[in-house]
Structures are given as C-alpha cells and as structure tokens.
C-alpha cells in the first residue's frame, strides 16, 4: 500500500501536465490563472479551439511534420542498415578506421557545426526549404546511432544464412536485401521509433532554416500563437499543443511494450 501511494504521488508531475493541457483547451483564457487552480473548466468553451486552424496554418504544419518525420525515418533506416551491414558483414581495408571516423562524428554537438552548414544552405539557395531539414538528420552525425544499432544486430546473424544464399548465386546487395534486412525487424523498429520521435520533435534546425509559417513543422508552429497585437492566445495554443500530443500518446499506449523494450535494448547494447 505504501508502495502504491508513493508511486501515485510520484506520477503526479508526469501525468498532471497532460491532463491539465487537455481540459485547458476548453477553458476561456481568463480561467487559465484562476485561483484556486482547477483541472476542469468552470465554463466550457470552444473559443480557443475554434481558432487553432485559422491563427496559424496548423493543418499544413501538422502535415509538414508527418511527412518530414516519415521521410527522415525511412532515409535513416536505409542509410543505417546499409552501413551497419557493411561494417558488420563485409571485410574491406580500413573498415575499423572508418568506423572510428563515424563514431567521432557523434562527439561534435550539432549547435557547433550549424554555422558552416547555415552558410552552405544559404549559398546553395536552400534557405526556407525542407531540404536541409531532411538531409541533416539522414546523413549527418545523427545517423551514427542508427548505424551502430544495425551493426550490432547484423553481427549477431548466423553466417550460415549468408553462405546458403551465396551458393544460390545471390550477390552482396541481394543477400542484404533478401536475407539480412528482412531479419532485422527489432533493429528497424528501434531505429524507426527513435528517428520518428526526433524528427517529429525537430525544433532547432527549422528555427534556423525556415522563415515561412507554411513550411514550419508543428513544434515551431506552436510557439507562434498570438493575436493581432502580439499577445499570446493561451487557450488556442494549448489546444493546438494537445492536438500534437494526443495522437502520439495514443500510438504509444497501444505499442507500449515494443516501444519501451525496443528503446531499452538499444540503450543497453547500442
């Protein structure tokens, strides 16, 4: 009993913000800072919610986020699986050294290299486009963790599988595409979860590279809810926030087991 009361008290700061957010979307702005604080609105209103799609191009931003996250996830899986397979199963000169090069890329904080990248993006005329937001996470240092997870996974595949395929006349690419990759389900799931979340949460790069609100991902869009005088629209902002959080939470609740276990496995052995 002591255990459960302790756990319940501890879960308040984790759950309360989400519960508060959902009901706050239906409060009039005046109730946001009411005393004593209430979770449920005293007066239910759709005043905030009704403006979500008109104050900012929220639907467009939502689509931007979904499509960016999908492209980045698929691209990261492709790059990570190819390189992971290459490092794990193919022998070639300097493989060890090249792997070290890859790992050292992870030691450089992204904020530091943004300055030259910003310059190149400007010179190539790619400012205010989605190109840098897609290219950076797929090919940049952020891709290393994916390579690492796939490499660990492919190292553990039995060699006989590939032997058999080779005798059947399959080349390297064929073995990778037909034998190794289809067996890499858990690694694909782990990388997919990590990359999708990271891409959906992207904030810093869009802040640097984007100017037009129609191109923003939702995260950046959420910070721009203001009325004509630059005053924040509390309930509209919170309503939009809830709309970005609820689908993710629902997916998570259904796929909870794979989610948590996939991540814990990569955290330990990745």
């Amino acid at each position: 009993m002591v255990l459960y009361s302790l756990l319940t008290i501890l879960s308040i700061p984790f759950l309360y913000p989400m519960v508060w957010m959902i009901f706050a979307a239906f409060k009039p702005a005046s109730e946001f800072f009411a005393l004593p604080p209430r979770i449920l609105p005293q007066e239910w209103t759709l005043e905030g919610v009704s403006r979500i799609f008109t104050v900012t191009p929220f639907a467009q931003q939502y689509l931007n986020s979904l499509y960016l996250a999908a492209v980045i996830t698929i691209g990261s899986i492709a790059v990570g699986a190819l390189a992971g397979y290459g490092f794990a199963r193919i022998r070639f000169p300097f493989a060890g050294k090249l792997f070290l090069v890859l790992m050292s890329g992870m030691m450089i904080p992204g904020e530091v290299t943004i300055i030259p990248v910003f310059r190149w993006v400007t010179e190539l005329g790619l400012m205010n486009t989605h190109v840098p937001l897609i290219v950076l996470p797929i090919f940049g240092p952020a891709t290393v963790i994916g390579v690492f997870i796939f490499r660990q996974y492919f190292l553990s595949l039995p060699a006989e599988l590939e032997e058999a395929a080779r005798l059947d006349g399959l080349g390297r690419l064929g073995i990778f595409a037909r034998i190794a990759f289809p067996l890499a389900g858990p690694a694909v799931a782990a990388v997919a979860i990590m990359k999708f979340l990271a891409a959906f949460n992207m904030y810093f790069e869009p802040l640097i590279f984007l100017r037009s609100e129609e191109l923003f991902p939702v995260g950046l869009g959420l910070t721009r809810y203001q009325d004509g005088y630059g005053e924040p629209l509390y309930n509209t902002q919170i309503g939009a926030t809830a709309l970005t959080v609820i689908p993710v939470l629902i997916v998570f609740l259904f796929a909870q087991r794979q989610f948590v276990e996939g991540l814990s496995r990569t955290g330990l052995k990745g």
Partner: protein, 284 residues
C-alpha cells in the same frame, strides 16, 4: 570494394556534415565575420583572446556546468528511485512504468509549453501552494529559481528513459547472487549496496555521460521558457552561441564559442570516462 558502397552514404554524410563543418568552425574562429555586412577578415587568435576576457562566456559556462550537474544528479537519483520501486513484481507496476515514461515521447516544445503555464507566477503550482498557505516564487522570473525550474522540467521530461535503462540493468542482476547474499544473512540494504549497485555501475556511467553530453546542447527549454533570463541566469553556452551567431550575426566569434563548447564537452566526457576504473564494476 562493394563494402565501401554500403558504408559510403553514412561515412560521407558524417564527414561532410560533421567533421568537415567542424574544420570550418576552427577556420571561422580565426576570422571576424558578419554575413550581413559580408566581411570576412583574418584576425588570428583575436577571438580567442576576446573569449578569455569575456565575462559573459565564462558566466554561461558556469551556468552550463551547474545545469549539467543538477540535471545529472536529479536524473540519476530519480531514475534509480523509480526503477527500484517498479522492479517489484506487483500488479500495476507496468501501468506506472507507462506513466513515468510517457513524457519521453511527448515533444519537448509541447511539454515545456504546458509547464510554462503551470510554473507561471499565478499558475497551477503556486495555486496549490497558496491553498496550503505558502507563497511560491515566480519560478522562471527570479534568477535564484529559474535554472533549477528549467532543470526540474527537463528531468520530468526525460527521466523515464533512464528509468527504463536502470530497470533493464536491475533485471540483469542474477537472482542467485542476491539469494546467496541473503542466505549469508545480508539485509536488503546491504544486498543493494554490495551486489545490485556495483552491477549497475556500467549503466550509471552510460546515463551520466549521455546526460552530460545532452546538457551541453540544451536549447529548446531555454529558448521557450526563459530566453536565457532573468538577467543571464539561464544563459547556457549553447544558447549564447545561438544568440551570438543568429541574433548578433557575429559568426566568427560564435565559431570560437563553438570550439570552446567542443573542448568542454570532450573534457567532461574524458574526465567521467577516466574515473570509471575507480567505481565502475567490470564483469569481464
């Protein structure tokens, strides 16, 4: 040769978007460069001299280290406590695990926005405090509280991930070992201290290093919650770099700050790694 084709996209990408840009940062740091004006002039070590005497930089470095230290301590302590509580095979622990983990998947922007309402001067937290007769501070607008508040919000966001890592480590502790110690008359606290904790030290080291590295480039909570203020009490070094580059357009000097960030991050990682022989239990 086909091996190179497999690894080329990743290796070329990391070279071109990580290591080569870092080389450019070193080069820029020796220049005075304002892209608005368009000048790019060699100044040698001048930026580094300026760095040495720049009080703002050192103050923000101290803030960053305070931030990292607090984040690390709260994170490890809370994650360990939650993992120990949830490690008992009792009904309902999976549900609580889900609760503690759920903020991990919520975007930082959403999490931080919601908390910004809760910690406002007249927000929910102070409302609750008022009901028990206490007057809470204006959490984000008082320099003595702002940094701690950002840290706490950040800890609740990410501690679930570390809790899962600790849970996995706890479940890897062989039951026979604990059983044997118990038969020898060791009490639960002793079992924890002498068997469980030493076997968890590799995971603790991992969490400490990842948390420190993450703290070096914290940006979103600062930008949304405090913009570095009040005063400069929450101006961490990565936020200072952002401002120097993208608000003041001082790209050369911002690059110098970038070099400093890299050196500090590497030093911290090396320090933590070098202490491991003294406290990290090595099974092999």
């Amino acid at each position: 040769m086909i091996g190179y084709a497999f690894i080329a996209p990743a290796v070329l990408g990391v070279l071109g978007l990580g290591l080569v840009p870092f080389g450019f940062v070193l080069w820029y740091s020796l220049h005075d460069w304002n892209p608005l004006v368009g000048d790019f002039t060699w100044v040698g070590g001048e930026n580094f001299l300026r760095l040495l005497t720049d009080e703002t930089v050192w103050a923000s470095l101290v803030t960053t280290i305070q931030f990292a230290a607090m984040l690390m301590v709260f994170n490890v302590a809370l994650a360990m406590a939650l993992a120990l509580l949830l490690n008992q095979r009792l009904p309902g622990t999976t549900t609580f695990r889900t609760f503690f983990f759920s903020p991990v998947i919520v975007s930082t922007v959403a999490w931080v926005l919601v908390w910004s309402y809760l910690v406002a001067a007249n927000g929910g937290i102070n409302g609750v405090l008022a009901m028990i007769g206490l007057e809470g501070p204006n959490w984000l607008r008082e320099s003595s509280w702002a940094l701690v508040t950002v840290v706490v919000i950040q800890v609740f966001k990410g501690v679930g991930m570390n809790m899962i890592l600790f849970l996995a480590a706890l479940q890897n502790v062989p039951a026979e070992l604990k059983e044997a110690a118990r038969i020898d008359g060791a009490r639960p606290t002793r079992v924890f201290r002498s068997i469980t904790l030493p076997l968890m030290t590799p995971t603790i080291l991992l969490v400490v290093m990842v948390t420190t590295f993450g703290a070096m480039d914290v940006f979103v909570p600062i930008q949304i919650l405090t913009q570095g203020g009040p005063g400069r009490s929450t101006t961490v070094i990565s936020y200072l770099l952002y401002r120097t580059a993208f608000e003041q357009q001082d790209f050369g000097y911002a690059s110098t700050i970038g070099v400093l960030i890299f050196v500090v991050a590497l030093t911290l990682a090396a320090l933590q790694w070098s202490t491991r022989k003294r406290w990290v239990h090595d099974e092999v």
